[in-house]
Symmetry: C2
Subunit: 234 residues, 2 copies
Amino acid sequence: MTPAKRAVVLLSGGLDSATCLAIARDMGFETYALSVAYGQRHAAELTASLRVAQALGAKEHRLARINLGQFGGSALTDPAIDIPEALPGDDERPCIPVTYVPARNTVMLSIAMAWAEVLGANDIFIGVNAVDYSGYPDCRPAFIQAFEAMANLATKAGIEGAQLRIHAPLIESSKADIIRRGIGLGVDYGITVTCYQADDAGRACGRCEACRLRAMGFAAADVPDPTPYQLRND
Amino acid sequence: MTPAKRAVVLLSGGLDSATCLAIARDMGFETYALSVAYGQRHAAELTASLRVAQALGAKEHRLARINLGQFGGSALTDPAIDIPEALPGDDERPCIPVTYVPARNTVMLSIAMAWAEVLGANDIFIGVNAVDYSGYPDCRPAFIQAFEAMANLATKAGIEGAQLRIHAPLIESSKADIIRRGIGLGVDYGITVTCYQADDAGRACGRCEACRLRAMGFAAADVPDPTPYQLRND
């Protein structure tokens, strides 16, 4: 029996990356989940990643820390910038949202590439989505293709003739499609955390952009929303 | 008077990156030096980077930490792998040296890209060299070009029509050429640390691959070697 092929899967603990991990497993890969603490305010997401990696049978799960918050420039790492509660299209919004973290996906893919190289893995999965995050430059298919081209020059794999592949299986999917696909693969979305300002118990605010896109996804998929929400009096 | 253009310069504290910082300054950039602690055994290099940034007038100097050592796979981060003392050509050596750190330059450039984006800088400098490090996949001109193409898709700059440039001004230079160029720009190489196993005071072993390439560079450039070496009794 040939050993299973290995894949590194970037895992935030959110809905998209959990689905991505399930897809990699379904494709027959032995999965190595990598979470990156980049200075995000929503650390509950990282706690969720531990549960998700275990539930979906990752062979190993590693956490890498890189403080992108020290450079500022994003609502996700800088407490001085408010998390928006408006949805795309609710009003005029800037071309690039304030929740964009400069270079985040490039940094995360680079770290994944480091681990993949040591593991001898030729496959990296990332749950980026160009539909909901159309304003993020590093969620576009052209970016993923350019990263893959670069990665094949940057590593041993490229020199030794192997081919490193960056899989972004959700990049063109709607949130409802992602949810239906994950449900079919046995993903328990109740243990994932999407909210930009979840509390320590992982309960979602229900108001931020990420929460609203997620809730609309469950509604559109006609799937009961398993998200634990914070109690509110207002 | 227009404000000076900003550039992020990757600064290890070694000879090449110090020269690179001097070149960026000479080109008229206001320089933002970035050192990356990636788990290297030679932490004396990072101490040297503080001296070099100050001596060469960097406007700011930041340290980013990312533990690539946790993935293993390199003599520079894994104490279980010996630092080689042979030079290229001394004997048969593997295609990719054990001192290669998987994805290191990609990770460092990605972090530099994050800071550049927040600073509004369109220029990043890296002191990679394809002559001495011909076995490192991420020291080749094709890698730098591919990274630049990816970077222009990954960031605001690419979307907003600016052009992000990755400068690798030393990539085709011999060590002697680099040293002559730096001397002409006022670089004090006595404060740089190149050695893979320097002591806490920054004194070089004089025996490792990096030390030997450096010493041969000073000899070939006909410049007195200012490197502080460890005392040895053997």
